[in-house]
């Protein structure tokens, strides 16, 4: 028996082939540095986006044609009131100074005061944000475990072009489900289950049962979307060699699909979930409107309708920041989850 140990040079790792344990080999350190660089790059991108977002939300008020205060208070408001408001908002100062003040205020948590109720915008948002996030998170938590198995099942059934009928049905049903906007689901659910059958309260937030319909309305589209993506990802994995080898090992189908295929489809599915979460937060605006749900979405609609600009500005800023944070989190999570990301960064 020839001794062949130690003859081969590892392909993807350079440096001593089999480093003694306890001492980080050059390659490992380099990989760590590379990882750190990626994290730094993402963080910088996040900071820049945040700055742009701040500038945009500041600019929003100034882009309103004419005088925003006059527009908000209406043509009949007394001049003194308008002037007082303008002064309170600092609109009579030079622009750079206004921007500096705005940034300082936002960073210290001061988002201004509502034109209508005189409440601090920060407090309004703090009171309502959890309600919106609860809807979006619950919808994601519902859509993921519903959509992924559905997509996998469809993939296994339609693999290599078998069961063309199922493929067509799956495609049309999910395609249709994706195309229906969430507010129609919401209206449909309200008419059927709240007004028609009376099983659920039609609106408002009071206890767990009131969550059911809004969460369902919000999750319906994403379930179909996730199922579609999971199907494509699963089909791709099913064609790979490791599945052939696992088949050659005669593993039971369940183990093959759940243990071998599923983990490899999750990276892509997770990416989509990140995007989905941000779109759910936006989609919740319409769902909240239908269910009179006391969240940020309802607030922003109100504030735009009532020309309550400080509130609109604050809510949009917060929405934008949430999107940025979610995207950053997804990026970092993927970097940590994907065992091959290190290799990919190399090439």
């Amino acid at each position: 028996m020839p001794d062949t140990s130690g003859l081969e040079t590892p392909g993807t790792v350079t440096g001593p082939p089999f480093p003694p344990p306890g001492r980080a080999p050059e390659a490992v350190r380099r990989a760590a540095r590379r990882r750190a660089r990626v994290v730094v790059r993402r963080a910088v991108r996040f900071a820049v986006s945040l700055a742009v977002l701040l500038a945009a939300s500041f600019a929003m008020i100034h882009l309103i044609p004419g005088d925003p205060v006059r527009t908000a208070l209406g043509p009949t408001a007394p001049v003194e009131l308008v002037e007082a408001r303008r002064a309170a908002l600092g609109l009579d100062r030079p622009l750079p100074e206004q921007f500096a003040t705005y940034v300082t205020n936002v960073l210290s948590g001061n988002l201004g005061t509502s034109f209508i109720t005189s409440e601090p915008v920060g407090e309004v948002i703090a009171a309502r944000l959890p309600n919106t996030l609860a809807l979006a998170l619950l919808a994601t938590l519902l859509a993921l475990p519903a959509g992924v198995p559905l997509g996998m099942w469809a993939a296994v059934r339609t693999q290599n072009g078998r069961n063309r009928g199922s493929e067509l049905t799956f495609g049309s049903v999910t395609g249709t489900a994706v195309a229906v906007p969430e507010f129609l689901y919401a209206i449909g659910l309200v008419s059927a289950f709240a007004i028609g059958l009376g099983w659920f309260p039609p609106a408002g937030k009071a206890g767990p049962i009131t969550y059911v319909l809004p969460v369902l309305a919000l999750a319906a589209g994403p379930v179909a979307m996730i199922a579609r993506i999971a199907r494509v990802e699963t089909l791709r994995e099913l064609g790979k060699d490791y599945v052939r080898l696992a088949r050659a090992k005669r593993l039971p189908a369940r183990r093959l699909h759940l243990r071998h295929v599923l983990p490899n489809t999750l990276t892509a599915t997770l990416t989509v979930c990140g995007l989905l979460l941000t779109s759910l937060i936006a989609g919740s605006v319409l769902v909240e409107f239908v269910f009179a749900w006391p969240g940020l979405g309802l607030k922003i609609v109100e504030s735009i309708t009532q020309k309550d600009y400080p509130v609109a500005q604050g809510v949009i800023l917060v929405y934008g920041a949430i999107v940025l944070v979610v995207n950053l989190a997804v990026d970092l999570l993927l970097g940590a989850l994907d065992p091959t990301s290190e290799i990919r960064e190399q090439s």
Binding site: S5, P181, L251, I304, T305
Partner: protein, 601 residues
């Protein structure tokens, strides 16, 4: 870019056509009814006269829904055009701006794409105020980033094309390259994607109007009708039904059609489906001692193509049989058929397929899973990237032998050591990408040793590895065969490797065996013109052997293009009249050798 008119696509096209017809005809036919105020029929529910009820002025809601189609579609069209124009401008900026500004533009687009469209629309609605104008601008702004991204992607593809490089080398200004070369070439996919954007705009606008941020009375679109109807949903739910159905139908129609069109747009670079390869064969007397005994194995694909036809093969215990041929000869499909791994539309038929003296059809998963070991070409692809190496080995024992996790793991580490993987403990706890190519292939071989392998099927196991590692893996295979007494079927395009490793060589061409001979007779005794050509095309030992047939003109016929005669005839220098009409059978040619050729026997 042909559009595939599947059922959903046709349904989408029909709905969109109906919508277009409604937009044209609706106001003409129902315009008066929609505006007719009836003080005696205010806020009614559904009735025979007003199937969807009436609004607060007693106007018929069905008529209003039908009339609102034009305004809804017109607004959506306007928003789409604004979004598309803005997006395409934004997307082409990087190709005309100086590098730094171009990067900034790209970065902006990437950042904007991540923002939900509704958020951008809200922003615009605040600035532009309530009303149709603000909503259209807002939805336009929401659509623009998507178009910008699409334009960038498409333009980047075109910019890499030869004619653009040529123009650039000739000193054509960038702006001119953009207008003359890039834009015309990406116009079609962009236009095809408009349908999808239009559907999105329609839904977005309906949403804005539904929130009360879009169209304001006395104008009305579907979203506004829904807004009005929704406030009465507790009393007369049916009044919300009409506009909701209209919005849903339009959304579905545009999406289904848009999906089909966008797919067509993405299909510009069509990937060719991989044709399954094809093999040959010949049977001989049954061998009672054989581990593997194959008779008349045929693999059929729909359309009557037979990439493997009537192949017979035996492998004795401890024997290493090499199966050689060019790609497309059917050698890999033969391996897959023996392993029961032929992909779906393929059908396997055989006169006999015995493993260890028993028909494979009667063997349980447990018996097959432990008696058959397979090794594939690319060990990185063959190992699951998400699972640890040790776990992938251990599961064989867990699944088939009910071993405990600890016992299975111990055995996995032991087997990794058996294939001379250094530090097997540590390696078992690593993921495949942390191992080198040679180590991965060792791990795959170790996986086969988890059971008690009777047959090892190695399909090009060294092709993806570099030369030094190749030799080590071959040595390891030899060693494993010697230790376990397993029979081995070694599949390779490389007749030199086969000659070194194997006891016996089986040469395949176009789905059949053309020659079978002991490996040590390869150099002097090869009789079939194809085998001889294979050997003759071998250059020196250390030149590149990946193209063994560089010396023979022509290519192997596809499985469905093999004539009645000898498949090799078109490339054979000895071919006669008879060769093209009559197929030579595999006949004995000296001791332990068989050849299928008219000119040899």
């Amino acid at each position: 870019m042909p559009v595939r008119w599947s059922g959903p696509a046709v349904a989408g096209a029909v709905i969109v056509a109906l919508m277009a017809a409604l937009a044209v005809a609706g106001p003409i036919v129902w315009g008066d009814a929609a505006e007719r105020i009836d003080a005696g029929a205010i806020l009614q529910g559904a009735s025979a006269e007003h199937p969807l009820g009436t609004d607060n002025l007693g106007r018929d809601l069905l008529a209003r829904v039908l009339v609102a189609g034009r305004f809804s579609l017109a607004l959506a069209l306007a928003a789409t055009l604004i979004g598309a124009v803005a997006g395409i401008l934004l997307g082409t900026l990087p190709s005309v701006l100086p590098r730094r500004a171009a990067r900034l533009a790209t970065g902006t687009v990437n950042a904007l794409v991540a923002f939900p469209g509704l958020l951008l629309a809200m922003f615009t609605a605040v600035v532009a105020g309530l009303g149709a104008r603000g909503a259209v601008l807002g939805i336009g702004a929401a659509i623009a980033p998507g178009f910008a991204r699409l334009t960038q992607t498409l333009a980047a593809t075109v910019a890499g094309a030869d004619y653009v490089s040529a123009a650039r080398m000739l000193g054509v200004p960038r702006r001119r390259i953009l207008s003359r070369h890039v834009l015309p070439n990406i116009a079609e996919p962009l236009i095809l994607n408009l349908t999808q954007a239009l559907g999105g705009a329609l839904l977005g606008l309906a949403g804005m109007s539904f929130l009360g941020l879009g169209v304001q009375p006395p104008s009305f679109d579907w979203g506004r009708l829904l807004f009005d109807g929704f406030s009465r949903i507790y009393v007369t739910p049916e009044v919300a039904l009409g506009p909701a159905a209209a919005v849903a139908l339009a959304g579905i129609g545009f999406n289904l059609l848009g999906d089909a069109l966008a797919r067509a747009a993405a299909r510009t670079t069509v990937r060719k489906a991989e044709e399954p390869p094809a093999p040959p064969a010949e049977p001989d007397e049954p061998d009672p001692g054989a581990v593997l005994d194959v008779r008349d194995l045929t693999v059929t694909f729909p359309g009557g193509s037979n990439p493997v036809r009537g192949l017979s093969l035996t492998v004795a215990p401890g024997e290493v049989v090499g199966l050689v041929g060019e790609s497309g000869s059917g050698k890999s499909l033969t391996a897959a058929a023996i392993g029961g791994l032929v992909p779906y539309p393929g059908k396997v038929t055989y006169g006999r397929l015995h493993l260890g003296g028993r028909d494979v059809a009667t063997l349980s998963d447990k018996e097959l899973g432990t008696a058959l070991a397979m090794v594939f070409q690319d060990p990185l692809a063959a190992l699951n990237p998400a699972l640890k190496v040790g776990g992938q080995l251990a599961e064989v024992a867990v699944v088939h032998e009910g071993a405990s996790r600890a016992e299975a793991r111990r055995r996995a580490v032991d087997r990794l050591g058996q294939v001379h993987l250094p530090e097997p403990e540590r390696r078992a706890a690593q993921h495949p990408h942390e191992l080198s190519g040679g180590m991965r292939q060792r791990a795959v071989i170790a996986m086969g040793l988890m059971g008690t392998p009777r047959l090892i099927i190695a399909d090009e196991p060294t092709t993806a590895l570099d030369v030094t590692v190749q030799r080590q893996i071959l040595r390891l295979l030899r060693e494993v065969v010697a230790e376990t007494g397993a029979a081995t079927l070694f599949i390779s395009h490389d007749i030199a490797v086969v000659g070194q490793l194997c006891d016996r060589v089986v040469v395949m061409y176009a789905g059949r065996v053309v020659e079978e001979l002991p490996a040590d007779r390869l150099a002097e005794g090869a009789a079939h013109p194809y085998t001889r050509a294979l050997i003759a095309s071998l250059p020196g030992l250390d030149t590149d052997r990946t193209r063994p047939l560089a010396g023979i003109p022509g290519t192997q016929p596809a499985p469905d293009q093999v004539g009645p005669g000898c498949a090799f005839a078109p490339r054979c220098s000895l071919a006669t009249e008879r060769c093209t009409t009559e197929r030579p059978e595999l006949d004995a040619h000296g001791p332990r050798q068989r050849v299928a050729c008219w000119e040899v026997s």
